[in-house]
């Protein structure tokens, strides 16, 4: 159909002879994302459930779970270990995995959507909205009455942010991405201000309760937390992953995405809405844990490439792995004291963010110089 057949044939020889090949690169990334990462995560889970005030053998969880799936008959662990595993450590690790995955996936989606490697769920003002909800629950005393008060109001706060943003930014018919970022920043400031104002009028123990909440922690997470969050988080992440190819097109710019036949406006709103709900629920489970949504997408874009069809699942696994390890670190570092997971992620995340900024500046200097 196109001329220059001869030139084409010659170049196909070129690609076979030593020039890096697309399929080979893709296969390598798939191996890393879909074989290595699940294995690492499984190993991390086994170690994480074993470490604590009472050490439990890493194989205990396997011995406990496999017979329940009808595989083999291994010696059952001691009664005490079973209780520790099933009621304390395993739900905590599962919560870490769920939250880690959710924040990482939302981070990937935000960065792709905004074509901005610095974007994260915080950009939308979701964290600030969630915090406002939490502080309302705590200062009004509802939190003392029900376990569900903080989560529900946190979700409500995050949703409020998302609704405000979509109302603000779609008033002109099209949702300009830059406009959304600015709206998110403005909302963040507003909600943080309101949060501070509420704290001003609240009692000291409420303030410390809130401050404790904002550190983000996984201690005392039970099956109840997982029961209300997993039915939102898992389908939410799956839904976001279905738009992997559209996210790829978003990185070309909205104009090109549209010229390739994508429903840019609709998909943008759907993605924003799902990301808002998922982030809100994740924050409700364990407080605002920073940097997961920023750091993990970057790390895995570096490891498996920017194609969202690989990057999204890889970041989900990687985010889970990262938070399980951070929580493990917090428990193992200064026993019997537990360092809250939000503190660990912040301490690990900030230097990474700084190195990222320096690297980007250097790259720009090379480009312009």
């Amino acid at each position: 159909m196109y001329p220059f057949r001869r030139r084409i044939a010659r170049s196909q020889v070129d690609t076979i002879r030593g020039v890096p090949h697309h399929d080979a690169a893709v296969n390598k990334r798939h191996l890393l994302a879909f074989t290595l990462l699940p294995l690492l995560l499984a190993a991390a889970v086994l170690v994480a459930v074993g470490v604590g005030a009472v050490p439990v053998s890493p194989t205990a969880l396997v011995r406990l779970l496999l017979p329940k799936l009808g595989i083999g008959s291994l010696p059952v662990p001691a009664e005490r270990d079973v209780t520790i595993l099933l009621l304390l450590r395993f739900p905590r690790v599962v919560a870490a995995m769920l939250v880690g995955s959710s924040l990482a996936v939302c981070g990937v989606v935000m960065q792709g959507l905004f074509r901005n490697p610095m974007a994260s769920p915080e950009i939308l003002g979701l964290s600030a909205g969630g915090s406002l909800g939490a502080v309302v629950a705590i200062t009004t005393g509802i939190a003392a009455g029900s376990l569900f008060a903080v989560p529900i109001l946190t979700i409500a706060g995050a949703m409020l942010s998302a609704v405000c943003i979509s109302l603000l930014s779609s008033s002109r018919g099209t949702t300009s991405l830059l406009y959304i970022v600015i709206a998110g920043m403005a909302l963040s400031s507003l909600f943080s201000g309101l949060t501070s104002a509420l704290l001003l009028f609240s009692r000291e123990y409420q303030v410390s309760q809130f401050v404790f909440w904002t550190m983000g922690g996984l201690d005392g997470r039970s099956w109840q937390h997982i029961l209300y969050s997993a039915p939102v988080l898992v389908p939410g992440m799956v839904a976001l992953s279905l738009f992997a190819r559209e996210l790829n097109l978003f990185t070309l710019g909205e104009e090109q995405a549209m010229s390739l036949g994508m429903h840019v406006e609709t998909i943008k709103r759907v993605l924003l809405a799902i990301a808002a709900v998922v982030t809100g629920v994740a924050i409700a489970v364990c407080g605002p844990i920073g940097f997961v949504g920023l750091l993990i997408p970057h790390l895995f874009r570096f490891l498996v490439g920017p194609d969202h069809r690989v990057l999204l699942p890889a970041s989900a696994l990687g985010g889970a792995l990262f938070l399980v390890l951070c929580d493990l670190l917090g428990r193992a570092l200064l026993p019997p004291l537990e360092i809250r997971v939000g503190i660990i992620t912040a301490i690990l995340g900030s230097p990474y963010l700084l190195s990222l900024i320096i690297r980007i500046q250097r790259r720009n200097a090379v480009r312009t110089g």
Partner: protein, 417 residues
């Protein structure tokens, strides 16, 4: 009769009160390579976006083979029309191949993976634009010219009947510019319709089969390059003085900008030259904005060719023929009306003796150095030398710079109230 392939009907697009494209009618058929030209802000990019269905017109409509483009399902539209943007930015480390495969999006099912055929097509297009060995290189690590070529290849990977290219060669060297436009010509010859915005008018003239000149969102001219690229049309639209001349080598039109009139209009100068002796002064005085006349020249002499291309009124006789008394009479008004007649330093033979007679009739004659006493001037006959001396009798003798400063003073005096 089959409907027009791509048609804009009374197309209008406005932002607030500003009308970027206004009541524009345009019909494009398969096989055409249409260049959209016009000054910055004339609405070129907006017109392309409207034609690609990326914007919804404020008024009017765009039809693809009679069907409303904005009513089409977006993926089926994307299988018919591709659009190449000027936006070359990419913050994430996608490889060239990954970028190219994105061009297959409208052809693939919701969860369908790109197959071997898609990959082969992407490779073919990459080598077609001459970049076969870079498929696994990072797109953002490429030079802007290479990125432009990759995006062009991506538009080809999309495999559409209509291609809309927004400044496809703005970052390319002349080699790749030639390549991209030659490929556009080939695509048109295959029966596709290619519409491209171009800033470089000479490039537009060389490759496009048709040019559409936009001015403030309206069509100022539409037709073959030689119909659109005319100084009378361009000067008004771009607000400058242009010179359109066919290239000596290829015959395609070249548009050159003539430096701005510096306000010496009204000062009339007649140049008597020959054998290229008036070339430098002609250029200087033209730039200064003097009203020039020239002659009597011999045809195909380099002075005469320059005068003609600049549109300087001049008298000329056939090459190597003798200037007759009648021709001197006809040219006399030039030298009588000129504020200054300049006798350039040309060799005098038998053919151009008449020019020395003409010089002696001038209202004010300036002889370009060297003068009669300084004798590198060549005279083939004694008669020529005598005539030259006669002509110089009442004349000023000035060198090149002195002539220019004399005219500049005259200009400044004329400009002062």
């Amino acid at each position: 009769m089959s409907p027009v392939f791509l048609q804009a009907k009374s197309l209008t697009w406005s932002v607030g009160n500003a009308r970027i494209v206004e009541r524009l009618d345009l019909s494009i058929e398969r096989g055409e390579l249409v260049g959209v030209i016009g000054p910055n802000g004339a609405g070129k990019t907006t017109l392309l976006r409207l034609l690609a269905g990326l914007l919804v017109p404020t008024e009017g409509e765009v039809l693809l083979e009679g069907r409303h483009i904005n009513g089409m399902e977006s993926r089926s539209r994307a299988r018919r029309i591709s659009f190449m943007t000027q936006d070359l930015s990419q913050v994430f480390p996608f490889t060239v191949m990954e970028i190219l495969l994105m061009g297959r999006y409208p052809h693939l099912g919701r969860f369908q993976k790109e197959g071997a055929e898609d990959l082969a097509r992407a490779r073919r297009m990459l080598s077609y634009v001459g970049l076969s060995a870079i498929e696994e290189r990072g797109f953002s690590a490429l030079s802007s010219g290479e990125r432009q070529l990759v995006l062009f290849a991506k538009a080809l990977v999309q495999d559409t009947d209509a291609l809309l290219l927004d400044e496809p060669s703005s970052n390319l060297d002349i080699h790749h510019q030639d390549r991209i436009f030659s490929m556009a010509q080939e695509l048109a010859r295959e029966g596709r319709a290619v519409v491209t915005s171009v800033h470089n008018l000479s490039v537009a003239a060389q490759y496009c089969s048709r040019l559409v000149l936009l001015e403030k969102g309206r069509i100022a001219a539409d037709g073959r390059p030689e119909q659109v690229l005319q100084s009378e049309i361009l000067d008004g639209v771009y607000g400058i003085r242009t010179m359109v001349s066919p290239s000596l080598a290829t015959g395609s039109l070249t548009v050159t900008v003539v430096p701005r009139d510096r306000g010496a209009a009204g000062i009339r100068v007649h140049l008597i030259g020959g054998a290229g002796s008036a070339v430098n002064l002609t250029r200087e005085l033209y730039r200064m904005g003097c009203v020039l006349t020239g002659g009597i020249a011999h045809e195909y002499d380099s002075d005469e060719k320059l005068w003609k291309s600049l549109g300087v009124r001049c008298a000329a006789v056939g090459a190597f023929s003798r200037i007759t008394e009648e021709q001197i009479r006809e040219s006399t008004p030039f030298v009588e009306q000129a504020d200054m007649t300049i006798l350039c330093s040309f060799p005098v033979g038998s053919g151009n003796l008449g020019n020395l007679r003409l010089a002696s009739l001038a209202r004010r004659l300036v002889v370009l150095r060297p003068g009669p006493e300084e004798m590198p001037r060549t005279f083939l006959s004694q008669e020529g030398k005598e005539l030259f001396e006669q002509a110089c009798a009442g004349a000023q003798l000035l060198d090149h710079d002195a002539i220019l400063s004399d005219l500049e003073q005259a200009r400044d005096k004329a400009a002062a109230p």
